[in-house]
């Protein structure tokens, strides 16, 4: 197997007395979709925010491209080429698609914005992702459907030559056809060589696109396995009980001494 693109080793994180992550190892491989699954409160969101640089780590190392890197904030992470597409989308309704895709990283020509260049690049990115569902790149985001908004948010991440894209519940609020579009897009990203992390509650989605599955249980990694080696039922057991047959945490962490 190829070298991981992004890797966290031995990450611990506490909020006050709550020890949220215990010695978590997590790896993202190029060209693969890694699904991060776990019950509510298992630590998925915390782990994503640590990867995104929003939270610091108490202990643990952050590797990117095989080298250890220092990460002190979202800007450092963005500079590495890691983009997070959040569940609540983080798009501005009153701006159009182009404006949203370049938000915070506008291209300038002299003192003014370079709208021509930005619109051209936005179009190229959307068409390179075979996004054909938006009517105009100049329509406001408020007029888009949930799936289109998710598409724009993902395209925004791709626009910046990202190497790793984290998708937080991208299909949670979508209908069947829109989920289809987004999952196709997720697969296309991985086929282009990006490392994709899919955080999802939906086992159907996970088994459809994921190459690897990392299951969290009460802040610990219960399993990190290729998705073809496990069944639907095993993953559910890993999520709910932390173990399934030979897989999983040896000792129930709920009763273990911390």
């Amino acid at each position: 197997m190829a070298e991981p693109l992004l890797e966290l080793r031995g990450v611990n994180k506490s909020f006050g007395v709550a020890h949220v992550l215990h010695d978590v190892d997590f790896a993202v491989y190029p060209g693969q979709v890694t699904a991060l699954v776990g019950d509510n409160g298992a630590g998925k969101s915390t782990l994503v925010k640590i990867i995104a640089g929003i939270y610091g780590r108490d202990t643990g190392d952050y590797y990117f491209g095989g080298k250890q890197v220092e990460v002190h904030g979202p800007r450092d992470v963005a500079a590495l080429g890691v983009e997070v597409v959040y569940q609540d989308l983080a798009l501005c309704d009153n701006l159009d698609i182009v404006q949203n895709m370049f938000l915070g990283r506008e291209e300038m020509k002299g003192v003014g914005l370079d709208e021509v260049s930005m619109e051209s690049r936005a179009r190229e990115t959307l068409s390179s992702l075979s996004v054909r569902t938006v009517k105009s790149v100049r329509q406001s985001v408020a007029s888009l459907s949930g799936g289109q908004r998710q598409t724009v948010a993902i395209a925004k991440a791709v626009l910046w030559n990202s190497k790793v894209v984290l998708l937080d519940e991208p299909t949670a609020a979508l209908g069947v056809a829109q989920t289809r579009q987004v999952l196709d897009l997720v697969r296309r990203l991985a086929d282009r060589g990006l490392g994709v992390v899919l955080i999802s509650h939906n086992m159907g989605d996970v088994f459809e696109v994921a190459d690897r599955i990392t299951a969290l249980y009460l802040g610990r990694v219960a399993a990190d396995v290729p998705s073809k080696d496990v069944t639907h039922g095993q993953v559910v057991e890993l999520i709910t009980a932390g173990r399934s047959g030979h897989l999983g945490i040896a000792e129930n962490p709920a009763t273990a001494t911390v």
Binding site: G104, S120, L129, S136, A142, L194
Partner: protein
């Protein structure tokens, strides 16, 4: 890209703008191809609740018809010039407020900040013999400082701007009262600053300026049309561009012609030319429109107003944007206070403490700026300011008791806020 990873990046958009622009993007059919399409688009937007300045323009037309039919002096060029001068300070204050309203905030202290700044300007002129521009800069600096403090309190402590600026509204009234003294007033007769309201641009110069503005707008619009259509990007149809140029030319040249005629009611002397207030307002309008629509700061301002959390995640310094908005608002309030003092010829302790602020908020909202943030333009302040200024002007000619004026203006403000709230609901339903 050169840090040694072996990832393929065919996602990278190639830098050939000609090829990729339309490739594989067939359903991008919103190039409104003709004026008819544009008109349909516009109607759809209206139906979806995106009214822009339309209610204000209709309101202005309505007020003009009513007042012109009730009083034959209303439409005289003398009164129209008066209206321009009266609207000046409201428009400038409203233009400053647009920045704060864009963030969904409010600045209740802008009126009295203008009064305090005007007091400082007058004192500098009278007591320290400063020249007009130095005194003006001192006044604007005071305004900006007030905005800096308000903005910092809002951005860092998270106090609602309503409360912070209400406190400043009360406290800042002390500045002119302390400096001028109860019952007194400072004369405001600097030839340049007072001249903003009582003197006019020479007729030749105003014609030159008007023609330059029209030609520059036409050249910019056509150049923009060419560069966008050549690259296959979204652009307005040529017919619409030409129509916009024609409308602008009609307004600018028409107003110049109107104000260049002799409007003196007394045949023994001549009053003609555009009042100096107008070029000041136009310059501010052009400058702030550029800032809002063509600069990074403007884009970020809209983003913070639309979704502050999204803006923060995009790496925008939300606090800096907020503070800047309040600095601009209070700085513009200082200019507005200067124009108000220039109009009345004096600064008194009550300057800026009256209806100025609510008029300006009303002007911005009537013009189409949303109280909920994220929507608004500098031109809104101009259109709305003219509506607000027309009401007391017309009612004054009708010799109505001044209480009527309060009722009508309050009613118009409420109406504008209702239109804003209703169109916001329709927008969220229609998703425009």
């Amino acid at each position: 890209m050169t840090d040694g990873t072996d990832v393929q990046h065919d996602v990278t958009p190639s830098s050939t703008p000609s090829s990729g622009a339309t490739a594989g993007f067939d359903s991008d059919n919103r190039h409104a191809a003709t004026i008819g399409d544009s008109a349909r688009d516009y109607l759809n937007r209206l139906r979806g609740g995106d009214m822009g300045s339309l209610p204000a323009i209709l309101g202005l037309v309505f007020l003009f018809i009513v007042f012109a039919s009730l009083n034959d002096r209303f439409l005289t060029t003398y009164n129209m010039a008066n209206l321009v001068v009266q609207a000046g300070s409201i428009i400038v204050l409203a233009m400053g407020l647009v920045f704060v309203l864009l963030l969904g905030e409010i600045d209740l202290s802008a009126g009295v900040a203008g009064g305090a700044s005007a007091t400082i300007i007058a004192l500098m002129l009278i007591d320290y013999d400063w020249t007009w521009w130095a005194a003006t800069l001192a006044g604007i600096a005071l305004g900006a400082l007030i905005g800096l403090v308000i903005g910092s309190l809002v951005a860092f402590l998270g106090i609602p701007s309503f409360v912070v600026t209400l406190a400043f509204f009360l406290a800042l009234q002390a500045v002119p009262l302390r400096l001028i003294g109860s019952g007194g007033s400072l004369r405001f007769n600097d030839p340049v600053l007072r001249g903003l309201s009582i003197k006019n641009v020479p007729v030749t110069a105003s014609w030159v300026a008007a023609v330059v503005i029209v030609l520059a707008f036409a050249a910019l619009s056509l150049w923009r049309y060419r560069s966008l259509s050549a690259r296959g990007l979204v652009h307005k149809p040529l017919g619409l561009v030409l129509l916009q140029i024609a409308v602008l030319a009609l307004i600018v040249l028409g107003l110049t012609a109107l104000l260049s005629a002799n409007r003196s009611p007394n045949p023994t002397f001549d009053i003609s030319g555009v009042p100096w207030v107008a070029p000041v307002v136009v310059a501010l309008l052009l400058f702030w429109t550029f800032v809002l629509t063509r600069t990074r700061f403007g884009r970020h301002l809209y983003a913070v107003g639309g979704n502050a959390e999204a803006a923060r995640r995009a790496g925008i310094n939300v606090r800096r944007i907020k503070i800047m908005a309040f600095v601009i608002c209070s700085g513009m309030a200082a200019i507005s206070g200067l124009l108000a003092a220039s109009y009345t010829g004096k600064v008194s302790p009550g300057s800026g403490g009256g209806n100025e602020l609510l008029y300006a908020v009303g002007a911005a909202v009537i013009g189409g700026t949303s109280l909920f943030g994220g929507r608004g333009r500098a031109i809104d302040a101009v259109v709305g300011g003219l509506v607000i200024a027309t009401i007391p002007n017309g009612l004054g000619l009708l010799d109505q008791a001044s209480y009527i004026n309060f009722i009508v203006t309050g009613g118009v403000l409420l109406l504008a806020a209702s239109v804003d709230a209703i169109s916001r609901r329709r927008r969220s339903a229609a998703g425009v």
